[in-house]
Symmetry: C2
Subunit: 229 residues, 2 copies
Amino acid sequence: MAVEYEFPRPALATDCVVFGFDGSELNVLLVKRGIEPYINVYALPGGFVRIDETVDECARRELYEETGVKDVYMEQLYTFGDINRDPRGRVVSVAYYALVRSTDYFPHGGTDASQAGWFKINELPPLAFDHKTILETAKQRIQNQIRYRPIGFELLDQKFTMTQLQTLYEAVLERKFDRRNFSSKILKTGVLDILDEKVQNVAYRAPRLMSFNRERYLQLTQEGFNFEI
Amino acid sequence: MAVEYEFPRPALATDCVVFGFDGSELNVLLVKRGIEPYINVYALPGGFVRIDETVDECARRELYEETGVKDVYMEQLYTFGDINRDPRGRVVSVAYYALVRSTDYFPHGGTDASQAGWFKINELPPLAFDHKTILETAKQRIQNQIRYRPIGFELLDQKFTMTQLQTLYEAVLERKFDRRNFSSKILKTGVLDILDEKVQNVAYRAPRLMSFNRERYLQLTQEGFNFEI
DNA sequence: ATTCTTTGCGTTTTTGATACGCAAAGTTAG
DNA sequence: CTAACTTTGCGTATCAAAAACGCAAAGAAT
């Protein structure tokens, strides 16, 4: 397996910031490292790029291998290329972020066996390498993206209430919206289908469910429509 | 100089999309390749990352070595990691974009000796590798950035007229603005100093010159101000 | 002196953002 | 069963910004 090159090369890795939403707060998926360096310290899921896979494929593979998360929304974030970001030597890392329905994967708090778990975005443990920096970059990116593109729906169940959607936006953007203005603004875009279905077993008045209409969204964007909250 | 690794590694390179403005159109700086593959085909300036430099440093160094451009505004764009993007083998490239005052460097059209030259963004020659994709990504990025951050000033002389600034915005965003609304909107932000100086030797009424006040911009952004055109 | 183009400063109109009123739905408490 | 209470759903009023446009002064060209 050993290989020889004419000139030294940095190693190339990927790391992934996985965001989840538990209904009230934004969470991040972290794995506890089992080997040195930073043994027993939490880190972003990630690993080295293989020679026969694209960088995107590497990010998906590592995420699946380390956390079981697959088939999720994923986007490249930024490449971190400082010289001393990894004590093992020169490692350049292409960072990604992913959005998942957190209830699909782990119970909140994580199973200790898997060494992976959800952490509230504002209550993070110490992190290995420069992963704190990566995470802050990812948080800024998702705050930007959610205002201009309908990525928020990746974090919710297919059917959701308007209040759930608003709570998500408030958690990501860390600010409050007026309930009535938020609702009419979102509905005005026309990308939501209002379903003939209401939430069951709920205190007080039951809200109706809605779903994101992806076809309608794509159609509208092609016509020069701009999703902006 | 030869080195051995336990596992094969992709080579890591940088490429840079250099934007310039000639007063009426947006231009891109390209270099003609002198070696195979793609000999005599135009490409973005770039090259391989050395083991003792950061990825950012590599982008600046390669840009200077191949075009003489240095000390300019530069930002990371995206990392291109497909398997077959380079016929020499596995090469992952971190792309950057830079903004320069194009008159500072080459006469428009380029000097043939240097094998580097400016091309209008909408009249590009065939490009090597996946550089067309990189360039399109860069164009989208600059169109986004110029609306929210005052990067346009990097493309103009220190002193400029309001019409020059508007022409730049129209060239980048490929749309027209109303002269009076554009002017008042920019002036209202407060980041421009109006100088006691007018353009000389000009037909018809001479416009006043202005300059970007970076200190004022930084002060305003710290106070939670948002530059948006 | 007159014509002509650009500049500079304004107003009007339209659109969108924000604030908030209120009644109906539907559960909980007495 | 009735009253109280919370959430929902739909509406309007107010305010701020965007877009459209009017007009005269500057100043070179004729």
